[in-house]
């Protein structure tokens, strides 16, 4: 188990938004967390990764407890997080954004090549300011930056928000390639079909708790899931 979460609870101003969260991710797996808006997916990721204090629970990454650690330390341990808002550096160039992904190290030329191959549009726009990129390009840059740190676990929060279907598909194609190279991926998605095709396993989250879990196949065949998330009656 590369990531193990037990009894995690977190929230804002005293009241918990997520409760009793238990899940795990094994090395090399692709795991999805699906659920509607407000289900708590973002809160889960943020509290897991040090951006929000957890009120209780444990989070173990490669055996070490990371609950309570500040986000920047967790990032250096080998988890890269691509948040829904991306948080790029708008007045810095694409190259500068990418290079900082490797902080504190210098970017590794091999990784640099890999990212550029994966996202050729970024290579074209390397000297452009990140703030001037289109939505799809910004998403690519956010992913690329996350990859520069050579993470062992890549966590993405709704990577396809605001992307046209073609670009969303491209994003998942890139993730597929990365999976092929052995990267472990944890993704939260509202656009369920894409995530389902990509992942091995998944958890269904509603109202701050996990309601269902299973392999992607199991979930795809689950009538409740089909009704709520796949639009099948």
């Amino acid at each position: 188990m590369i990531l193990e979460v037990r009894g995690l609870a977190a929230g804002y101003q005293g009241s918990d938004v997520i409760r009793a969260i238990d899940f795990h991710v094994d090395a090399g797996e692709a795991v999805m967390i699906i659920g509607s808006n407000g289900a708590g997916k973002t809160t889960l990721f943020r509290s897991m990764l040090g951006l929000l204090p957890a009120s209780s629970g444990q989070v173990r990454f490669q055996g070490s407890e990371i609950v309570g650690m500040p986000a920047q330390r967790i990032a250096r341990l080998g988890i890269s997080f691509v948040p829904a808002e991306r948080h790029l550096f708008p007045r810095m160039t694409v190259l500068e954004n990418l290079y900082l992904g490797a902080y504190p190290d210098r970017p590794d030329p091999e990784t640099d090549d890999m990212v550029m191959d994966l996202f050729p549009r970024l290579a074209e726009r390397r000297r452009q300011h990140a703030g001037t990129l289109s939505g799809g390009e910004q998403q690519m840059l956010a992913m690329g930056r996350a990859l520069m740190g050579k993470p062992r676990l890549l966590v993405l929060d709704e990577p396809t928000t605001g992307l046209a279907p073609k670009l969303a598909a491209e994003a998942y194609q890139a993730l597929d390639v990365l999976r092929g190279k052995g990267l472990t991926v944890l993704v939260a998605e509202q656009q369920v079909p894409l995530a389902m095709a990509f992942s091995d396993r998944g958890y269904v989250m509603e109202n701050g708790v996990f309601e269902l879990e299973g392999s992607s196949e199991e979930l795809a065949n689950n009538p409740q899931v089909r009704r709520s998330y796949l639009g099948v009656t």
């Binding site: 550096f89 902080y103 504190p104």
Partner: protein, 285 residues
């Protein structure tokens, strides 16, 4: 007229470097350091004491610069702590009030204890001719040093990993944390830098005219005006605003007197806030 413009540029470069220190701290830490002028003055006084104690000029300047850096770090370890324990608007308010308090403490003590002291570094040699205007050697040396410092600053921010890391925190603090950058540590670096810049400007300014113990609040006001016009958080903006305002100040002063020329600068700052609060090149919220 040319003399005015040249003097204005000399002054403007100083304005720019000075404002850079203030704007960086605001851009990174959200704190407006109203005790900035006092940091500059303390560094100048440290240099003065070193010279009086017999230390040769260059090492004495080193002492002053070291004091500047030290003050920045002390600021980080003392004032910034209670400020960082709160969030949002209360933090801004508290930072204004606490730094104002510190400014008063330092200013009150210095003007009481050493009311007539001031640093003045004399650069020997006759005037140098620039575009037909005889410029004092001190002004030239001060400007050259300032230009070098500005160049070094740019090289730092564009070319070094640490510099880029600092910029990233100004751009997007959460994004910086996501790539492993510790904003608090970056702030410490910037505060040390800010103290250094305040010291450098005070010391080079003393080559042009004496920097007295009472100059503290005036320095802060000028730094504030240039920072606002250039844009909170932008060093490039500070530099451009500095040079422009330096020239405006000098030209206006020679035509309508010092008090009213300050009014023009204040007006420029007010106008900037009203029309384009992010300043010339600042971070647009």
């Amino acid at each position: 007229m040319i003399a005015n413009i040249l003097d204005g540029i000399v002054l403007g470069l100083q304005f720019g470097l000075l404002a850079a220190g203030l704007t960086l701290v605001y851009g990174l830490g959200g704190v407006l350091n109203l005790a900035y002028g006092q940091m500059a003055v303390l560094s100048a006084i440290a240099t003065l004491f070193a010279i009086d104690a017999g230390v040769p000029t260059l090492p004495a300047v080193g002492v002053g610069l070291a004091v500047g850096v030290l003050l920045g770090l002390i600021f980080d370890q003392t004032i910034l702590r209670p400020i960082y324990r709160i969030q949002g608007e209360a933090r801004v308010l508290l930072s204004l009030l606490l730094t104002l308090g510190v400014a008063f403490i330092v200013d009150g003590y210095l003007t009481w204890r050493y009311p007539t002291e001031g640093l003045s570094i004399r650069i020997g040699g006759g005037p140098i001719d620039i575009l037909g205007v005889p410029m004092r050697r001190g002004s030239i040396v001060a400007s050259v040093i300032t230009l070098l410092a500005l160049g070094a600053l740019f090289a730092f921010f564009r070319g070094t990993t640490l510099g880029r890391a600092v910029r990233s925190v100004i751009e997007d603090e959460e994004g910086a944390r996501l790539v492993g950058i510790d904003p608090r540590r970056m702030l410490r670096v910037i505060l040390a830098l800010s103290g250094f810049l305040a010291a450098l400007v005070a010391i080079t300014q003393s080559m042009v005219r004496p920097v007295t113990v009472t100059a503290g609040f005036g320095i802060t006001v000028f730094a504030l005006i240039v920072t606002v016009v250039g844009g909170l958080g932008s060093v490039t903006g500070a530099m451009f605003a500095g040079i422009i305002l330096g020239m405006v100040n000098n030209i206006a002063a020679s035509y309508i007197g010092t008090f009213l020329s300050l009014l023009i600068l204040l007006g420029a700052a007010a106008l900037t806030i009203l029309i384009r609060p992010s300043g010339l090149l600042g971070v647009k919220e």
